[in-house]
Symmetry: C2
Subunit: 246 residues, 2 copies
């Protein structure tokens, strides 16, 4: 095994064993390199890799630190990973989201604070009558993120956040082909909000299920007969959508 990989494991072990706690500062490059028995160059490769997955945080002119290692930070690295998936696997991601989102919504109905619920309602009102696509998607993301956060489980929240990434594109596409998508989305969002506000977990769960299933069904019917444009490198969205949903 390359020395760099060994270094990665060593640093990992130092953190897991507790020798390096969250927030701690690592020895300086030269020192740590000597201690691990490799060159600074190789050590830097290891540090950079751990940096990408948010385990370490290097600050030029200061030092290298262990991050807080909180679930949201680490799982947030998964967003980077998820970005690599093409449209053919979006359905699989959406299917997982379909499992998690209703559960999160039900939990939110139980655990969400009154203040947060008020803010959730405010989000719905913020949306203009004729919003732009960007505004809609942003609002939609915020809405679902707030609910996920309201579940009280940071892991669940971050996971949903990551999963939303690749499906966001699909959500935008939905606007093109579905006329009433905007209105329906707003109705469903409102229903979800009201169920949460009424502290009705099962009702909230059902609305969330309906909500996600709608996107899933639409996406499935859109992708299946359109196997033609599967390839074609570097193709971007050819046209602009009118609305979005999720």
């Amino acid at each position: 095994m390359p020395v760099t990989d060994v270094a990665i494991d060593k640093i990992k072990d130092m953190i897991i064993s507790g020798e390096l706690a969250p927030g701690d500062r690592l020895p300086k490059e030269a020192e740590l390199a000597q201690r691990l028995g490799l060159s600074r160059s190789s050590l830097r490769e290891a540090v950079k890799a751990l940096c990408l997955i948010r385990v370490l945080d290097v600050r030029q002119g200061d030092g290298t630190y262990v991050t807080s290692l909180e679930p949201n930070l680490l799982l947030d690295a998964m967003t980077f990973v998820v970005d690599f998936h093409r449209d053919d696997t979006v359905l699989d991601f959406l299917a997982v989201r379909r499992i998690l989102e209703p559960a999160a919504t039900a939990l939110a109905a139980l655990h969400m604070g009154d203040e947060d619920i008020a803010e959730l309602g405010a989000l719905l009102d913020e949306l203009a009558d004729a919003p732009t696509v960007e505004a809609l998607v942003a609002n939609d993301l915020q809405f679902h993120r707030k609910i996920a956060d309201g579940s009280g489980n940071p892991v669940l929240c971050s996971l949903l956040d990551s999963l939303s990434g690749p499906t966001a594109r699909a959500r935008i596409w939905r606007g093109l082909t579905q006329e009433g998508a905007v209105a329906r989305t707003r109705e469903q969002h409102t229903a979800i909000y009201e169920a949460i506000a009424a502290r009705e977990p099962e009702l909230a769960r059902s609305w969330a299920t309906v909500h996600i299933a709608g996107v899933e069904q639409w996406l499935r019917s859109t992708l299946t007969p359109a196997e033609n444009t599967a390839e074609g490198p570097a193709e971007a969205e050819p046209e602009e959508p009118a609305a979005a949903a999720s």
Copy 2:
């Protein structure tokens, strides 16, 4: 932004745009470095980072390649991330697993092939009467992995695989050996298998829920009163608890 991070994004874009397809070989280090406008050292840091999350695969003496980018490969990198979490967040991970596992089990009851179901049953029989801890862990892992795989959703499968981190699981399993919970676990495994074999998704889902909830409950009761030994760097497990497993 450091040039290395720029390089990471550039390579990422080259892959997402389709310029580099899965399995493709990258230009040699010196060439790619010049093309991206940085030194070989810095480029190597970028490559190493992308290597850790399984996007690239470097083979000494041969070249650097783009991996298959399959969901299982990429999400597999999450296992590495999950390893960093201490016991205080294990409950949150388990809660997510409690949501996903029943759903996967229900899906497996619907989609699993007859052959795979037979293999699942064989797994149960393989276990000796007085298995070692290692055998138990291995068998348990295989059992749940096979079910997750049977859901037909590779994303769901990989996610579940990552969530049930080998580390946490081993610890839990070690605890169960001290009591009769081994028997209960085997009974539940058998019940899950029979529900799948009978093509009863709802029954399978319920058994899976019961199964995971058992661990969760045990883990919660074990962790809560033991808030005392929270700190103390590099301390190992002083003693082992006794209860259920998954």
